[in-house]
Symmetry: C2
């Protein structure tokens, strides 16, 4: 039986700040630093490694964090989650995204349905559909093959699938697995849909409408936008559209779609990349086998997250260190820095996954909490970021904890040797150099050129960014977020904070405004 308690009621909350702070620049110097790199490392799935040698921890701090993990019952809470307890208390829902990629615990039956079987069924239906599209068995009205797939969705229906598509696009092209180009329409800004439609051949495009409720304003608006374009091109929209939605949504039974694939209320948008929401577009773009490998990587990583031995559980250690940085060391933001251009939108996806999950001020029972919860998260790929915001990260007045990601090999494999090294070697050399530069710093008489160091980072290292590695990477961060939510005792699976804006926007459009809202509406000519 798990107990849900606020972080500040735990003994660990009192004890952690009493443990002596690690002087990172000192412990990372010399051979001791090399020893830490060897020691503070945890194997992940798909050949990845989580290395936290350059975090501000040592055996004493880790012992304190292990105590916290046990006192907060992190492993038991995860077990309760994957065995189907109502973890999303606010909305009274199970939290089942792990089940889209494997059976971690007991069978979960909800609404009279074995949910694992349900998710597998959807995956299989999508696979069959995608294979038929690729084989030219499902075509446009003229009997021609579809060449482009366009996802219409916003938030979780956009950021995750888009980031995953970009992550695998070049890998798939290189490996002869690229089936169709994917595009994404998300913003209600009409220029978003118009620009995408102008860039594609609509007659050979298939559109995926993604909305769990079937009521998301932006998505329905963009659907109409697309339908107008199809009509103007003399095309039958119902031959060009599929839906990903819940079985109870108005879209589920509509004849407006070639096919409908289902998700359900137990999968939050920001955790839906491994459900039909990611499945449809990724299976169409790269084939169902690639999507299956992606799920496999995530499932393997999930198993590691279920490990009760804290120091062998990469997501749990990552989560605990993040809590330590936020609540004990007082660092207010965190940056994700992938040394891989293919992961250009991965930080934007994590920004949603993390900030929407744990950016909360009340606990899971709706009572205020008295400690900081989720931090601001941002990031851009290295080495680009090095020529941009790294200045502040190195020498700014705030310390921002960092999460590097790097791969030994590029995806495409085309490279060039300049000054004795390949671009890929330069990329990796920069990642290694940055971790050490942030941790150790550098003395200089000119204080403008001095680096204090002591700026903590971890790094996830892999062989090549392939579907399995991507799945493992995604799972790692999803589970990290979940564990942190457990420690902070917040409900990481609702998002009441997005509601007020929607309500007020409706008032503006209905001209039911007064005061400042009317004044701003007037300024914006609405």
């Amino acid at each position: 039986m798990v107990t849900w308690s606020n972080f500040d009621t735990l003994t660990s909350y009192e004890e952690l700040p009493k443990i002596e702070r690690v002087k990172l620049a000192e412990v990372m110097a010399g051979e001791n630093g090399a020893d830490r790199v060897k020691k503070y490392s945890i194997p992940m799935a798909a050949g990845l490694t989580y290395n936290y040698a350059a975090k501000q921890v040592d055996d004493q701090v880790l012992e304190g964090l292990e105590k916290l993990a046990k006192e907060a019952q992190l492993a038991d809470k995860f077990k309760a989650l994957y065995n189907g307890e109502v973890i999303n208390t606010g909305e009274k829902r199970l939290v089942l995204h792990h089940l889209t990629r494997g059976q971690l615990g007991d069978a979960v039956v909800a609404d009279g349905v074995d949910k694992r079987a349900f998710y597998v069924e959807q995956q299989e239906k999508i696979a069959e559909f995608a294979n038929k599209v690729h084989a030219g068995e499902i075509t446009n009205a003229a009997g021609e093959k579809f060449t482009t797939v366009v996802q219409i969705g916003i938030g979780g229906s956009d950021l995750g699938p888009r980031a995953m598509y970009l992550a695998l696009e070049n890998w798939a092209k290189k490996n002869g697995l690229f089936k169709m180009e994917a595009k994404f329409i998300s913003n209600v800004d009409p220029d978003d849909a118009a620009a995408v439609l102008n860039s594609i051949d609509v007659a050979h495009s298939i559109f995926i409408l993604v909305s769990k409720s079937g009521t998301t304003l932006e998505t329905l608006t963009n659907e109409s936008f697309v339908k107008d374009a199809l009509k103007n091109a003399g095309l039958d929209a119902s031959r060009h559209m599929i839906a990903v939605t819940s079985e109870t949504s108005p879209l589920a039974k509509s004849e407006d779609y070639l096919a409908a694939f289902f998700m359900d209320d137990y999968i939050g948008g920001r955790f839906s990349s491994t459900s039909s929401v990611g499945g449809a577009v990724l299976s169409l773009a790269f084939g169902p086998e690639v999507f299956a490998q992606f799920l496999e990587g995530a499932a393997e990583e999930d198993k590691l997250a279920a490990n009760e031995n804290v120091l062998e559980n990469p997501a749990m250690v990552d989560a605990l260190i993040g809590v330590y940085e936020r609540n004990v060391l007082g660092y207010p933001a965190t940056a994700v820095l992938p040394y891989s251009q293919a992961l250009s939108r991965f930080p934007a996806h994590l920004q949603q996954a993390d900030m929407e999950s744990n950016g909360k001020s009340v606990n899971r029972f709706g009572e205020p909490v008295n400690y900081p919860t989720g931090p601001v998260l941002f990031g851009e790929p290295g080495t680009n970021g090095q020529h941009s915001f790294y200045q502040l990260l190195h020498q700014g007045t705030d310390i921002v904890p960092l999460q590097f990601v790097g791969f030994k090999n590029s995806q495409i494999g085309t490279d060039v040797v300049i000054q004795g090294s390949t671009s890929q070697q330069k990329l990796c050399a920069n990642a290694a150099a940055q971790v050490v530069a942030f941790a150790c710093g550098k003395e200089d008489e000119n204080l403008n050129k001095k680096f204090d160091g002591g700026r903590p980072s971890s790094i996830i290292i892999g062989e090549t960014l392939d579907p399995k590695a991507l799945g493992a990477l995604l799972s790692h961060f999803e589970n990290k977020i979940m564990f942190q939510g457990f420690v902070w005792n917040v409900n990481s699976f609702d998002q009441e904070g997005v509601q007020l804006g929607k309500v007020l926007a409706k008032k503006v459009l209905a001209h039911e405004t007064d005061g400042a809202l009317k004044a701003y509406s007037d300024l914006l000519n609405i």
Copy 2:
């Protein structure tokens, strides 16, 4: 004569915290809120308006900030800057990016050259070159027209020009001014260059190599990458490349380029969008007239920034409020939220411009400062962000000050009416709604659905995002950053914090490593 003093030596630094805090949710309620929207508004160039009604200020706070502006001699320091004083003390350089778009003060002569004339000359040379390319007078070796332009550069040579290109791409297409597609190669990750090269027709592409020093590792590496590709395609690289560099760089006189256009050491990379660095790619993509309009918007906004009347100076007020939020209210981050898909990469550009300029811990004399300087800056377009990280912005435990940007009209003009409103109206309604939701919040017995409000934002509103408006927007933020640097007494124009990583990366590549650096290099197989 201006005096450079640390912020905490000023009387204002003592006085500002003593001014009563504004209860934002209270003052923004009812008709008082509407009055504030009318009152706290400053006209900008190109029809833009800066509105700060929803910031945590009132007449008392503004009076305190005006005193600070005068005590810190912000107007005088800007005057010194544009009249050619050595403002970049660390590198002993003038700071002349304003001069690329107009003559604000005295003629500035440096190295025996009238710098305004020099920048105009470069702009004219670029215009002539671009016109010849568009007219088919400069072609590839086969006498065929170039159809694509690819910028090779990183940091300031990438983020600004890329953000500006994306901001105007659809506007130019709509208005028949789109000349050539532009692509960008920046990362040393070989997959970046390989993917761009795979996506274009190299035989009809012209490449712009952008490096002030001519020594930027990533850029030279990517140049070789591109030259290899051209050679493999049987093409003469020197017929496909131009350079943007300083006159003293090794690239300036090389016969490897069709042409070379110049910038100089008085223009920092992150402030170079209005120099040849932005000029070449934007003039090729959209024609020199569009680039000239962009400069015109920036020049007009610069003039407003020179206004000594603080409350009529939008960049100065914005800067002062940001300092108040950072140093008095203690908010550690800030978000930029453009309600315009065309500005999708504008926040990434500002992230560099702001964090690289003011993420410093020493003052302009190399002495440590004892107060927070530049904040973390991040952002994504609305309404996308609403379905992502806005949860934390509304209900997280930290308050993050916000900067909205919105336009009354879309760029393309294609739209659809759903439920009685266009997409553009929905977009604007959401922007207005969010400002009020953040400021005023909402009571609810269920604390999970309660919004405290009191979360400050400003909004810049324009008619349409066109070249002039974009120039004004860019200038506004550049000048805001400059004024904040003046208050914090930091040198906003150097970036010593990016050096250490470069040095260590070279050691890794030369295998001159030990300790942690060797251990990480081994892990990454370098």
